[in-house]
C-alpha cells in the first residue's frame, strides 16, 4: 500500500505528547472514564488514536474478562496434581492441550458467537466456526471435528425461523467446506433466548506432542508475518467513531460489525499452517480473532521475551481507505500472524506460494519490551504490550442472591396448577410420551444435523443423536476421543450453583456412556449483564459450582470463553453455562452406540441409578409452562461410579447399547434408544416403581441424575449385575429388546407403535422450518 493512498492526519505518539487536551472518543469506544484515565497513567500521556483503538478492544469485556476474571481464577486454583498430569497446556493459551498417550495430544475449546449470530445469523454462525477452528490450528493441531450447541427463542416465534435458517446454514456452509465432520451439539428452544440466541461452537484438533505451538514472539530479529485473507473493514463494530481520527468526514463512517466468512480461504489456511508446522517453519503463531491485529501483536509480544516492531502500512488491505485504528481493530476472518526466524523466511514463502496464500512481512521481534507500531515510519503506537493484553482492568462486580430466588424455588411443579391432573392411566401416559417426544426440545434434530457433513475424514465413530461424538485419532491403534456439550438453562435459573454442576455431570455422563474416560473440560459461560448484581451472582455461583464439581470429578478446565450482556433490556437470558467434556477411548471400536440394533433381540434392558420424584425444571414441566422449584439433586460420587461402570462395561463388552437419562427422563431415553435403529422393546416399570417408591408417571418423566439405560446381551447379564453390585450401584432389569414388535411396550400401561412415535418425533422441526 502506498503512502499516498492514506491521506490521514496521523495521530503520532509525538503529536499525542504535545496535544494532551485533544478530545478522544473513549466513551463511544466503550471505555469507562476510570479506564481511560488508567491508560493515560500507563502511558504518561494521552493515547494516540491507534493506541486508544487497541486498548478499547483489548480491554473490552470480550477480550479482557474484566468482570469474570476474579471468579474464573477458581478453575486454575481448584486443581489437584492428579488432574494436572495429562494437561500439556492449560488455560490462557488459544486452547488447552491434553495428553492422549502414544505421543498424541488433543486440543479443544468452545466459544460463543452469540451477538453476531443474532444480527446476521448466517455469517455470525459461520465465522463462529471459523474462529474456533483457527484457535485449534494455532496450537499446532489438525482440526478434526466441530460441534455446535444452539439456543434459540420460542419455536413458533416468527424471528426464530430467521435465526434458525441462517445459523444452521452458516454452520453447515462454513464447516462443511472445511472438511470437518460436525459430530454433535444441542438445540434448545426457549423464549428467554428470543432476542439473544446462543450460538456456541466447539472445535477439536489432534497433534503429536512435538507439534504443539504456542502464541509467543521470541528471539530478537525474528520476522513477524501476517498471512491469509486481506484486512478489510468488516467486524470493526463500535470503532466507526474512529473515523474522527482522520479529521476527515469524506469517508464512510459506518462499518459492518459482523465479519464475513470465506471458508475456502480458511481451508487453505489450515493445510498451509499444517505444512508450516510440519517443516517447523514458525517460532510462534497466533490466529486473528476478536480485536484482530491489536490482539495478535500485543499477545504475541507480551507472551514472548522481548518486544515487537511493526509497520502498519505493510498490511495488505481489501479497502485502501482504512485508518490505522481500523486496521488495528478489524476482525476480518481467515488471517494468522506468525513469527519466523530469518533462515526460514524463504521456506515459509514457498509454502505460501504453493497454497497461493497472500502474506506480508510486518516487522520483527525486538528486545525493547515495547510494542511499537509505525505508519510510514512514524510511531503511532508505543506501549508495553502486557498492559494491552494482560493487565487490563479487573472488576469485583457487586453480586447478591436475587430477592426473587426464594419464591422461585418454593414454587414447585407438584404444588402448582400446572402440576395438577398429571397423566396416570396407560392411555394418558402414552399420549404424554408422544407429546414429550414431539416437543421442540425433545424432537428429532435431523433437520439440522442432516445439513452438516458428519462423515468427512472417515474417522467418525459416533455422531448426533448418540450421546457423544466419537472421533478416531490413530488408525493403527484405534485411539480416539469422545466429546459432548451440555447445559440446562432452566436448572441453572433455579439454582445456578447446582445447574452448572448438572451441565458438567451430564456431559461427563454422556462421554462415559459412549465408553470414553472423561479427561478435560471446556466451558462457554453465557450470561446476561455483569452490571446486574442478580446476573453477577448467577455467574459467580455457576463458576463456583462448576469448579467445585470439576475438582470432585477430577477433570480440569483447559479453556473456554465467557459471553456476557446476553440480555434484552433488563431481561437476561437464563444463566447458560455450556460445558464440554472430552474423553478418551483406547479403541474407538469399543464405543457404545445409543440404541440397540436388530441383532440384539432378547438383550436385557437395565436401568442404572435411582429414580426420585424430581420434576422441577423438567421438560415435562416445561411443556406445561412451569418453571420453579429446585433442579434434580446431584451426587458427584454417584456420577463417578456410574461413569466407571459404563466405561468398564464398554471395555469388557458387557453392553451393546447405552444412553444416559437427562431431559425427558426414562420416557425420552427409552424412546430414543428404540428409534435410533428402529427396534422395539418390551419393558415393565413395576420393579422400578416398587424399589424407588414412585408411580409410573414419575418413573417415566422424572429427571433424576446418575442414571443410564443399557442393553446387555444375555450371556453378559451375570457379569454385568455382579459389577454393578460390587460397586453398590442400584440397577434394575426393565425388560428386553424385541425385534418383532416394532413398538415400545410398557407392560400393563401402553403399546406405542414406533412408526407413530417416529412420525411425532420427526414432524416438529419440518413443520416450523
Amino acid at each position: 500500500m502506498t503512502a499516498e493512498a492514506h491521506k490521514f492526519n496521523i495521530d503520532t505518539v509525538e503529536h499525542a505528547a504535545t496535544t494532551p487536551d485533544t478530545e478522544l472518543p473513549w466513551a463511544e469506544l466503550g471505555l469507562k472514564q476510570n479506564e481511560f484515565e488508567e491508560i493515560v497513567k500507563l502511558l504518561g500521556r494521552r493515547p494516540t488514536a491507534a493506541e486508544l483503538a487497541m486498548y478499547s478492544v483489548m480491554w473490552s469485556e470480550h477480550c479482557s474478562y474484566k468482570s469474570s476474571k476474579n471468579h474464573l481464577r477458581q478453575f486454575g486454583e481448584k486443581v489437584t496434581e492428579e488432574m494436572k498430569k495429562d494437561m500439556l497446556v492449560g488455560i490462557g493459551e488459544n486452547a488447552g492441550v491434553t495428553n492422549l498417550g502414544d505421543g498424541w495430544a488433543v486440543t479443544f475449546k468452545i466459544e460463543s458467537h452469540n451477538s453476531p449470530s443474532f444480527v446476521e445469523p448466517y455469517q455470525g454462525a459461520a465465522t463462529g466456526i471459523g474462529g474456533i477452528v483457527r484457535d485449534i490450528i494455532s496450537m499446532g493441531a489438525r482440526p478434526v471435528a466441530v460441534m455446535d450447541p444452539l439456543r434459540f427463542g420460542a419455536i413458533d416465534h416468527p424471528d426464530t425461523a430467521r435465526v434458525m435458517h441462517g445459523a444452521v446454514a452458516g454452520i453447515g456452509g462454513y464447516g462443511n467446506s472445511l472438511g470437518l465432520p460436525n459430530i454433535g451439539g444441542e438445540m434448545v428452544f426457549d423464549s428467554v433466548y428470543q432476542g439473544n440466541p446462543l450460538v456456541n461452537a466447539l472445535a477439536v484438533g489432534v497433534m503429536r506432542h512435538e507439534d504443539i505451538r504456542l502464541a509467543n514472539a521470541s528471539g530478537k530479529g525474528n520476522k513477524v508475518v501476517l498471512f491469509g485473507a486481506r484486512t478489510g473493514g468488516d467486524g470493526i463494530g463500535g470503532a466507526s467513531v474512529l473515523a474522527s481520527e482522520s479529521f476527515d468526514d469524506s469517508k464512510p463512517s459506518k462499518r459492518p460489525a459482523v465479519q464475513v466468512g470465506d471458508p475456502f480461504a480458511e481451508k487453505v489456511l489450515i493445510e498451509c499452517c499444517l505444512e508450516l508446522f510440519k517443516g517447523s517453519l514458525v517460532e510462534g503463531i497466533q490466529d486473528l480473532g476478536a480485536a484482530g491485529i491489536s490482539c495478535a501483536t500485543s499477545e504475541l509480544a507480551s507472551n514472548g521475551d522481548g518486544g515487537m516492531q511493526v509497520e502498519l502500512t505493510s498490511v495488505l488491505l481489501r479497502d485502501p481507505t482504512l485508518t490505522p485504528g481500523e486496521i488495528l481493530m478489524s476482525e476480518s476472518q481467515e488471517r494468522m500472524m506468525a513469527v519466523v526466524s530469518p533462515e526460514n523466511v524463504a521456506a515459509f514463502e514457498a509454502v505460501m506460494e504453493k497454497w497461493a496464500v497472500e502474506y506480508s512481512w510486518l516487522g520483527e521481534v525486538t528486545d525493547t519490551g515495547r510494542l511499537i507500531i509505525t505508519w510510514n515510519g512514524e510511531t503511532i503506537v508505543d506501549v508495553d504490550p502486557r498492559t494491552v493484553a494482560h493487565e487490563g482492568p479487573v472488576y469485583d462486580r457487586p453480586y447478591a442472591r436475587p430477592e426473587w430466588q426464594d419464591a422461585l424455588q418454593a414454587d414447585t411443579f407438584r404444588a402448582s396448577e400446572a402440576g395438577a391432573g398429571l397423566p396416570a392411566t396407560g392411555g394418558e401416559l402414552k399420549a404424554a410420551v408422544l407429546e414429550l417426544m414431539a416437543s421442540p426440545n425433545m424432537c428429532d434434530k435431523s433437520w439440522i444435523t442432516n445439513q452438516y457433513d458428519r462423515y468427512v475424514g472417515g474417522n467418525t465413530a459416533l455422531s448426533a443423536p448418540d450421546d457423544a461424538g466419537v472421533i478416531r485419532v490413530d488408525e493403527e491403534t484405534g485411539l480416539g476421543v469422545a466429546l459432548s456439550t451440555d447445559a440446562n438453562g432452566r436448572y441453572s435459573f433455579l439454582d445456578p450453583y447446582t445447574g452448572a454442576q448438572l451441565a458438567l455431570a451430564e456431559a461427563y455422563r454422556n462421554v462415559a456412556t459412549a465408553g470414553a474416560v472423561p479427561m478435560a473440560v471446556s466451558d462457554c459461560l453465557n450470561f446476561g449483564s455483569p452490571e446486574d448484581p442478580d446476573v453477577m451472582w448467577q455467574l459467580a455461583e455457576s463458576i463456583r459450582g462448576l469448579s467445585d464439581a470439576c475438582m470432585e470429578l477430577g477433570v480440569p478446565v483447559t479453556g473456554g470463553n465467557v459471553s456476557l450482556y446476553n440480555q434484552t433490556g433488563s431481561t437476561p437470558i437464563h444463566p447458560s453455562p455450556v460445558v464440554a467434556v472430552l474423553g478418551k477411548l483406547d479403541d474407538v471400536a469399543r464405543r457404545t452406540p445409543s440404541g440397540w440394533r436388530n441383532d440384539a433381540d432378547g438383550q436385557a434392558i437395565y436401568l442404572l441409578g435411582t429414580t426420585r420424584d424430581e420434576l422441577d425444571g423438567s421438560e415435562f414441566a416445561n411443556i406445561r409452562g412451569h418453571l420453579g422449584g429446585l433442579p434434580p439433586k446431584l451426587d458427584l460420587a454417584a456420577e463417578k461410579t456410574l461413569g466407571a461402570i459404563l466405561i468398564n462395561a464398554s471395555r469388557d463388552g458387557m453392553i451393546d447399547a447405552a444412553h444416559d437419562l437427562s431431559e425427558g427422563g426414562l420416557a425420552a431415553a427409552l424412546s430414543e434408544m428404540a428409534l435410533r435403529y428402529g427396534v422395539g422393546a418390551r419393558v415393565a416399570l413395576d420393579d422400578l416403581c416398587e424399589r424407588d417408591g414412585v408411580d409410573a408417571f414419575t418413573a417415566l418423566f422424572s429427571e433424576s441424575q446418575g442414571r443410564a439405560l443399557v442393553a446387555v446381551p444375555r450371556s453378559e447379564e451375570v457379569r454385568f449385575n455382579d459389577m454393578a453390585t460390587a460397586r453398590q450401584y442400584p440397577v434394575v432389569r426393565l425388560g428386553v429388546v424385541d425385534t418383532e414388535t416394532s413398538a415400545l411396550e410398557v407392560q400393563g400401561l401402553f403399546h406405542l407403535d414406533l412408526g407413530e412415535l417416529r412420525e411425532a418425533h420427526e414432524a416438529t422441526l419440518p413443520k416450523y422450518f
Binding site: 489438525r142 462443511n176 467446506s177 472445511l178 470465506d262 475456502f264 505444512e275 510440519k278 497461493a356 444435523t449
Partner: protein, 251 residues
C-alpha cells in the same frame, strides 16, 4: 511440488499394502476435502494411493485417477468450473480420452469437475430443496460393465453416504435418453431422490466406461464402524472394481 495426504492424524498403511501393485492417483485441489478418505479407500482396497497436486503436470504413471469430493476453489462460481482448468486436469482429460483409456472416477465435486471438463455429459445444479444434505443413501447399480462397477451385480442395491449442496444432476432430454439407451446410467437413487436429479440419476459413465462420475461418496463406506449407520462398507466395491479392471488388462 507434490502434496502428501497425511500431515497430522496419519492413517496407517493397509494390511499388506498394495497387494495388486496398482497405483491410483488422488488429486488434491485447493478446497478438496475428501482426498484423505479416497486415499484410505484405495489403500483398503489393496492398492497404493498416489497424491497428485492440481498444479503439477505429471500423472506420475498412475494406473487410475480419483477426483475426490470437496469445494474446489470454494466453488463460489459454479461447482468444478475453475478446477477444470487446472494443469493436472488437462493431463487427466488427455489420458482418459487416449487409447489407453485411463480409468477416472469423480466423486461429488469430482463428478462436477468431470461434467465441467466434458468428460461426462450434463451438469449439476443446487439441490431442489436448496439445502446441503448429508444422509445414508441407497443406490441401485444399473450397469456393472464400467471400470469402476464390475464388482457389483447389475441391479444390486448398496448403501453409501450422500452429502452435497449442488447434487441435482441435469441434462437435456436427448442426452438423458441417450444415457439410458447406452447403459451409461451407472447408479440410480432408490427410495428417495435426495436432490431432484433427473431420472433419479446418481452416477453415469462415458461411452467407453472408463470414466465414471458419482454424486454420493463410496469412500465414506469402506470401513466397518465409520460408514453408513457406522456399519456399512458397500462403497469398497468401487475401488476393488477398478483393481479388477486393471488386472484384467482392460486399461
Amino acid at each position: 511440488m507434490s502434496s502428501e495426504f497425511p500431515l497430522i492424524g496419519d492413517f496407517s498403511p493397509a494390511p499388506g499394502a498394495a497387494l495388486s501393485g496398482a497405483r491410483i492417483g488422488v488429486v488434491t485441489f485447493p478446497g478438496t476435502l475428501d482426498d484423505r478418505d479416497a486415499a484410505r479407500a484405495v489403500r483398503l482396497a489393496g492398492a497404493e494411493p498416489v497424491a497428485l497436486w492440481h498444479a503439477d503436470e505429471s500423472l506420475q504413471d498412475v494406473d487410475a485417477v480419483i477426483l475426490p469430493g470437496g469445494f474446489s476453489y470454494g466453488d463460489y462460481l459454479r461447482a468444478g468450473a475453475i478446477a477444470r482448468f487446472a494443469p493436472m486436469m488437462s493431463k487427466i482429460i488427455d489420458a482418459a480420452n487416449s487409447d489407453a483409456k485411463l480409468p477416472v472416477l469423480g466423486i461429488c465435486n469430482g463428478f462436477q469437475i468431470l461434467t465441467e471438463s466434458h468428460l461426462l455429459p450434463g451438469s449439476m445444479i443446487k439441490n431442489d430443496h436448496l439445502k446441503f444434505i448429508c444422509r445414508d443413501q441407497v443406490l441401485r447399480v444399473e450397469n456393472n460393465a464400467t471400470a469402476w462397477t464390475s464388482q457389483y451385480a447389475t441391479g444390486q442395491e448398496i448403501s453409501i453416504v450422500l452429502k452435497n449442496q449442488d447434487g441435482q444432476y441435469i441434462a437435456d432430454e436427448k442426452t438423458l435418453d441417450a444415457l439410458e439407451a447406452e447403459g451409461r446410467v451407472a447408479f440410480r437413487y432408490v427410495g428417495w431422490n435426495p436432490n431432484g436429479s433427473r431420472r433419479d440419476i446418481a452416477g453415469i459413465s462415458n461411452e467407453a466406461g472408463n470414466v465414471v462420475g458419482l454424486m454420493p461418496h463410496p469412500e465414506h463406506a469402506v470401513e466397518a464402524g465409520y460408514g453408513p449407520d457406522h456399519t456399512g462398507t458397500d462403497g469398497l466395491g468401487i475401488f476393488t472394481s477398478v483393481l479388477t479392471t486393471l488386472v484384467g488388462g482392460t486399461k
